[in-house]
């Protein structure tokens, strides 16, 4: 058996296990070292991923494929995890929580997401999703002394378990129809099952898988758990869930629906298109009324999910690569915003938008970064979000769904309303009398700087990433 293919996963899960094992023997004062060990492990896993041969064949009993898609998404998950480690060090330590347990759960969750990225079989993909989900439930409830975190964990657990059950039911139907769990085999099996009198079961299976994964990515109308879970979870975890858990949901959608159910695209495409337009509208319109920045960004992330779904709905290679590019842009934008929020809430737990009054004078650097991230969410030129939306609009027009392009444009206009509120509060409103300068730790500053570089780089020189996402998405639609 050749384990070479999964060395990155072995390293990340090994670091997680190591942190659990060392945790009781390391005093609270030295816990910061766990963060550096964890970062080193994630970096090593990234280097190992880059060293993997990209053949596209199947290894480990057909469970794993090493194609461009699996390589890019492994790197996305590793980068996101490393940024979250940086922005959570002070946040967790300041609250007197156990950093070793927190980081080990983060490593296990990342392992699950990486297993999903490399899976070419629904069995390993589902197990990866469960590993990610179970770790995420605990992470959401990690600050259990705060009632919001408690509620977030419980809501996430109940809704996530329901979604997992529906997904399993749908996948068991596809197995019953085709006798296969391998995703490439599903592609042919489902298409032929459609013409042999099993059509209603095929629709039931496709519907269940779509509904369950819509739960996981928090697409409307399956999003009702998301605002509460995202608002109540610890701030670094909220960023992690929004980026890694949702991107992993998209990995499952791309692998199972776009690849496994690819021949049925003419049937599920319109449903995904409807889901996309409904999700972005619900997210943007509801965000207008929010007073808490985490809750506002939760609705904003629902809107972003709607944009990405456009790329999947058109079911063209251009759409897939635009969706992948937008997910990378979304990673840097979201983690940039959450790096700022986490840096601000290390000492002061206030998450109301009014708490950001006068931030432009109290801490100009953080305010500039948050403003750039909000501009990227809106899609202002020279930011990552602009290039992402450009790619999605182009894909929608070329894919014959120009009305989706109009939907993205209209929704971006609506979204200016609530992003502008935050920007105006930061730059125009006077600072509170007791609000001094904000002290940012080196780790927090590094995460802020790295995400800023990512957002601006993708906005100015996107060619390399356009090429990467095209390369990664090449094998998705067959």
């Amino acid at each position: 058996m050749n384990f070479g293919a999964v060395w990155p996963e072995i390293v990340v899960s090994g670091v997680g296990t190591l942190l659990v094992a060392l945790d009781p023997f390391v005093s609270a004062a030295r816990q910061r070292w766990f963060g550096y060990v964890c970062l080193a492990g994630l970096l090593l896993a990234g280097l190992l991923t880059l060293g993997e041969p990209v053949g596209g064949g199947s290894v480990l009993g057909g469970m794993v494929t090493l194609d461009g898609f699996s390589m890019l998404f492994r790197l996305i998950f590793l980068a996101a995890a490393a940024l979250v480690v940086l922005l959570s060090l002070d946040f967790i330590l300041q609250r007197g929580k156990d950093l070793g347990e927190f980081l080990s759960l983060l490593c296990f969750a990342t392992t699950g997401a990486m297993v999903m990225a490399i899976s070419r079989d629904v069995v390993s993909l589902y197990v990866g999703l469960e590993l990610l989900s179970i770790s995420s439930y605990v992470l959401a409830a990690f600050l259990r002394d705060e009632s919001g975190s408690h509620e977030a964990g419980l809501k996430y657990l109940l809704n996530g378990a329901l979604a997992s059950a529906i997904l399993l039911f749908g996948l068991s139907l596809t197995y019953g129809l085709t006798g296969q769990t391998s995703i490439p085999a599903l592609t042919h099996g489902l298409a032929s099952a459609l013409h042999t009198g099993y059509a209603p079961v095929v629709w039931l299976a496709v519907g269940m898988v779509l509904a369950a994964l819509a739960f996981k990515i928090a697409a409307a109308p399956f999003h009702l758990w998301a605002p509460d879970a995202y608002e109540g979870a610890p701030t670094p975890v909220t960023g992690y869930l929004m980026v890694v858990a949702e991107t992993a949901g998209f990995v499952a959608l791309l692998r199972i629906v776009d690849t496994g159910m690819g021949p049925l695209a003419a049937h599920w495409g319109p449903w995904l298109a409807g889901l996309a337009i409904f999700t972005m509208t619900v997210g943007n319109v509801t965000a207008l009324w929010q007073r808490n920045i985490k809750r506002m960004l939760a609705y904003s992330s629902i809107a972003q999910v709607g944009y990405v779904l456009v790329g999947l709905a058109v079911a063209t290679p251009g759409g897939v690569s635009a969706a992948i590019f937008y997910l990378v842009a979304y990673l840097f934008t979201t983690l940039g915003a959450f790096a700022v929020i986490a840096a601000l809430s290390v000492r002061d737990p206030g998450d109301a938008i009014t708490d950001y009054a006068g931030l432009g004078r109290r801490s100009p650097a953080l305010a500039v970064v948050l403003t750039v991230c909000l501009a990227s969410y809106v899609g202002i030129p020279a930011t990552a979000g602009f290039m992402g939306k450009l790619a999605l609009i182009g894909a929608a027009v070329h894919g014959g769904m120009a009305w989706l392009a109009v939907g993205i444009a209209v929704n971006s206009a609506i979204s200016i309303g609530y992003y502008w509120t935050v920007a105006r509060t930061m730059w125009v409103d006077p600072a509170p009398a007791d609000g001094g300068a904000v002290a940012v730790s080196p780790a927090g500053a590094t995460s802020v700087a790295l995400t800023l570089v990512g957002v601006v780089f993708l906005g100015i020189l996107p060619q390399a990433f356009f090429w990467l996402s095209h390369w990664a998405g090449a094998g998705i639609l067959r």
């Binding site: 058996m1 296990f108 297993v115 002394d145």
Partner: protein, 202 residues
Amino acid sequence: MISFALIGAAAVAAAIGVVTARHPVHSVLWLIVHLCSLAVLYMTLHAPFLGLVQVLLYAGAVMVLFLFVLGLLSARTRPDPAEPEPLTGQLGWTIGAGVVIAAVLLLAAGAGAAGANPHALPAGFGGVSAFGQALFGPYLLPFEATALALLTAIVGVVALSTGHDEAMRRPPTEPEAEPEGPALDVSHAAMDPRRGVGGGRD
């Protein structure tokens, strides 16, 4: 076919019992019936080892663990029969969805029954050796990932159940209880007619 229908019906009935029973211990007992029916189904599907493991591990060990936990937590609390249903209308939705799914599957089963052609099973199918070969062969990655998921669950339980005590034991770095103190005092004072609102602490 008839045995499948009977055992399947038993499994479904027991599963309905799990979710409708008002007492948690009754739910666990129904779950044991359900898991045992699944075990019999596995045996009729030529997977005797899986059936045995199902009985030993799930119906046996795991359910005993469930009963222990229930005994520690809530076995003595009597559910209030007059308590209103927390999710109104869920029964109708559940029955509706169940009927639709059952109808689709029964129609498909009717359509497929004529052309059913069971594959010949390889020699040794469902035995311990074949089971082990599959688990440590093609299914090694999901198997190991499942092991990691169990470890995660253990770490999660430790993180969520001990963090609270530790935070209480640790000497507080900031006076945390300060903001809540006066508010509680005022409410006590308001409830106690012998003490005026301005009376303050003893």
